[in-house]
């Protein structure tokens, strides 16, 4: 039987539309990369990484203070959020029944959906209002609220992949349940759990909105967590909307650095440890 021409054409047209939309979706990503490569790489230099900013009007200077600030705040934020997030994930996957688990699941869902600027306001109200000054601590706290739900979610998903009989085997050997969880389940899936943490960190490293009025930003290298601290995204924002050509250049260079950090973390997390490896580790084919 031959298909009518109309149907064949429709089929082809449909396929064409789908291919076209795929191209449309990829295009912005490529355009952004080209833009950043063009603008960013030309203004990138060793000075950029080794110097603090110069006063307005003087050419040169860099973003050392902002890079270090971002690293510090992200580290501090994950120091708070990763242990708590992991524990919550373990609770959900190992004990996840009952009212508390259900409300926790709901809370995590809600926290994922909260706009990051609202998180910033919350952190402002708690830290900045009570300390009466912008502080890196407030910024780190805001970042930790962004990291927490991601870590919890991935931990729960990953631990759920581990088959029941692994737990049963541990219990059958006479181990107490917490040892099964700690020594077998958590140790065994260490690598995959790291993936979740890295993804969460890469998300937090690019966040601007919650840092705008918590860590606020500064023009000096600072290691004081109770004072304002610069961060790469906020510095980029301030420079990008400034009228000075030189600062705009710096903003492009900063963005180039930021996207390399963020996408680098993201891709390495994806390629280094995937969850399929986890399955192989626990389910050996006999």
């Amino acid at each position: 039987m031959k298909l009518s021409k109309k149907r064949v054409i429709k089929n082809q047209l449909f396929r064409g539309t789908l291919i076209l939309s795929s191209l449309i979706v990829i295009m912005p990503l490529i355009l952004i990369f080209v833009f950043l490569l063009q603008k960013g790489s030309t203004s990138l230099s060793l000075d950029f990484f080794l110097n603090d900013p110069k006063p307005v009007g003087e050419v040169g200077g860099g973003m050392r203070h902002a890079i270090i600030g971002t690293l510090m705040m992200v580290a501090l934020g994950s120091f708070i959020a990763v242990p708590v997030g992991t524990l919550c994930g373990v609770y959900l996957s190992e004990y996840g029944k009952g009212k508390i688990a259900q409300s926790l699941r709901f809370t995590i869902d809600l926290l994922t959906g909260v706009p990051s600027i609202v998180v910033g306001i919350f952190s402002y109200l708690i830290f900045v209002v009570s300390f009466k000054s912008f502080s890196a601590l407030a910024g780190a706290f805001a970042l930790s609220i962004i990291i927490l739900p991601i870590v919890t979610r991935t931990t729960e998903e990953i631990l759920k992949l581990i088959p029941r009989h692994v737990r049963e085997a541990g219990l059958a050997l006479g181990l107490p349940r917490w040892r099964v969880i700690w020594n077998i389940i958590l140790r065994g899936s260490r690598n995959s759990l790291t993936t979740g943490v890295i993804l969460a960190i890469s998300r937090a490293a690019g966040e601007t909105a919650p840092l705008l009025f918590t860590a606020f930003g500064s023009m000096y290298l600072s290691f004081q967590v109770t004072g304002p601290m610069a961060s790469l995204p906020v510095q980029i924002y301030n420079y990008a909307i400034s009228p000075y050509k030189d600062w705009q250049q710096q903003a492009w260079a900063g963005s180039f650095t930021l996207i390399i950090i963020v996408l680098g973390l993201n891709l390495s997390a994806k390629f280094l440890f995937n969850t399929k490896k986890l399955k192989k580790f626990f389910v050996r084919k006999s």
Binding site: R7, K10, Y91, L92, G113, I117, L125, A209
Partner: protein
């Protein structure tokens, strides 16, 4: 006897209880944290609420100098940019999800999938920078004249264009929510029964007809859920929008005009707010945004969860 008992480690059941209590404790901490967050927002915004009441939502003036605040321009900006973004991103993302699940071989679909996910990983500030220096001039010089010459008779497409404005913000938002919609739509399409697809093909349907009958129809509500989830993402997006929307608290007929969103006004004014009432009004805007995104996400989750429920039970 007593000595032996002392040397014995505490019983496993006791240790287990301790571990369980610890886990429960931290879970409670996180739940309480969210409650504190909601409480704080209410507490901080009560001053503005006492002053303006529900008229805050319907008043369209925002004047920090005279301490008069109404959030309608920001609600307008948020709703319009998000819906426009959804209009642009929706069809494209669903098509990509279809292409990935139904047409591409597994290796290629992984590559395309990774590309789409990478868009989600790009920080918002970089979208903003790109939008400010690349997209805004492009919209001003290319998109606007084209729209004006074809659809210029509608009031939507009239008025001057400065490049920054509702349209540019919507395009940026559309790019940013594509990954969300695509990944949820993929999940939904994957939950479609393969038997139905085979049946449609067996009856002589072309691939297009098969997708129409056996894939799109049963997953309709799931697609709606994916779109609503994308909407939730778009509502709360801050930096990229703040950089390209122009930050003018006005309600305008034209989509070329600058505007302001709830998130962008907070980003712009919070650090510089001087009077307590101004701060409180901004907190009230934050509370509104929180409530709206909460409701939208809840609706989306419920729809998507119902659709993919059958599959997630392994």
């Amino acid at each position: 006897m007593k000595l032996l008992k002392d040397f014995r480690p505490s019983s496993p059941s006791y240790q287990d209880k301790m571990a369980y209590t610890t886990l429960r404790f931290f879970s409670l901490v996180v739940i309480v944290l969210l409650l504190i967050m909601i409480g704080q927002l209410f507490f901080a915004s009560r001053e503005a609420f006492n002053e303006f009441g529900f008229a805050f939502i319907t008043d369209d003036f925002w004047n920090p100098i005279d301490d008069e605040f109404g959030a309608l321009p920001f609600i307008f900006g948020t709703v319009v940019t998000s819906l426009l973004a959804l209009l642009i991103a929706g069809p494209v993302s669903v098509s990509v999800a279809l292409y990935i699940t139904e047409y591409l071989p597994k290796s290629l679909s992984n590559i395309l999938g990774t590309f789409v996910e990478l868009i989600a990983a790009v920080p918002s500030i970089i979208f903003g920078l790109w939008g400010l220096y690349y997209l805004a001039p492009f919209v001003k010089d290319t998109v606007t004249p084209a729209l004006k010459s074809t659809l210029g008779f509608l009031p939507l497409f009239q008025g001057p264009s400065f490049g920054i404005g509702i349209l540019t913000a919507s395009i940026i938002l559309a790019i940013m929510i594509i990954p969300t919609i695509t990944s949820v739509a993929r999940e939904v399409f994957r939950s479609v029964s393969i038997l139905h697809k085979e049946a449609a093909l067996g009856l002589g349907a072309t691939k297009f007809e098969m997708i129409k009958i056996a894939v799109l129809k049963p997953s309709f509500s799931g697609i709606v859920g994916a779109l609503v989830l994308g909407l939730g993402r778009a509502l709360g997006e801050t930096m990229a929008v703040a950089m390209v929307i122009g930050n003018t608290p006005q309600i305008s007929k034209s989509i070329f005009a600058p505007a302001s969103t709830m998130a962008s006004v907070m980003a712009n004014e919070y650090a510089e707010a001087e009077s307590d009432l101004h701060l409180s009004a901004l907190c009230l805007v934050g509370l509104l945004l929180f409530v709206v995104t909460f409701v939208v996400n809840l609706i989306a989750r419920t729809i998507v969860w119902r659709q993919t429920k059958g599959r997630s039970k392994k």
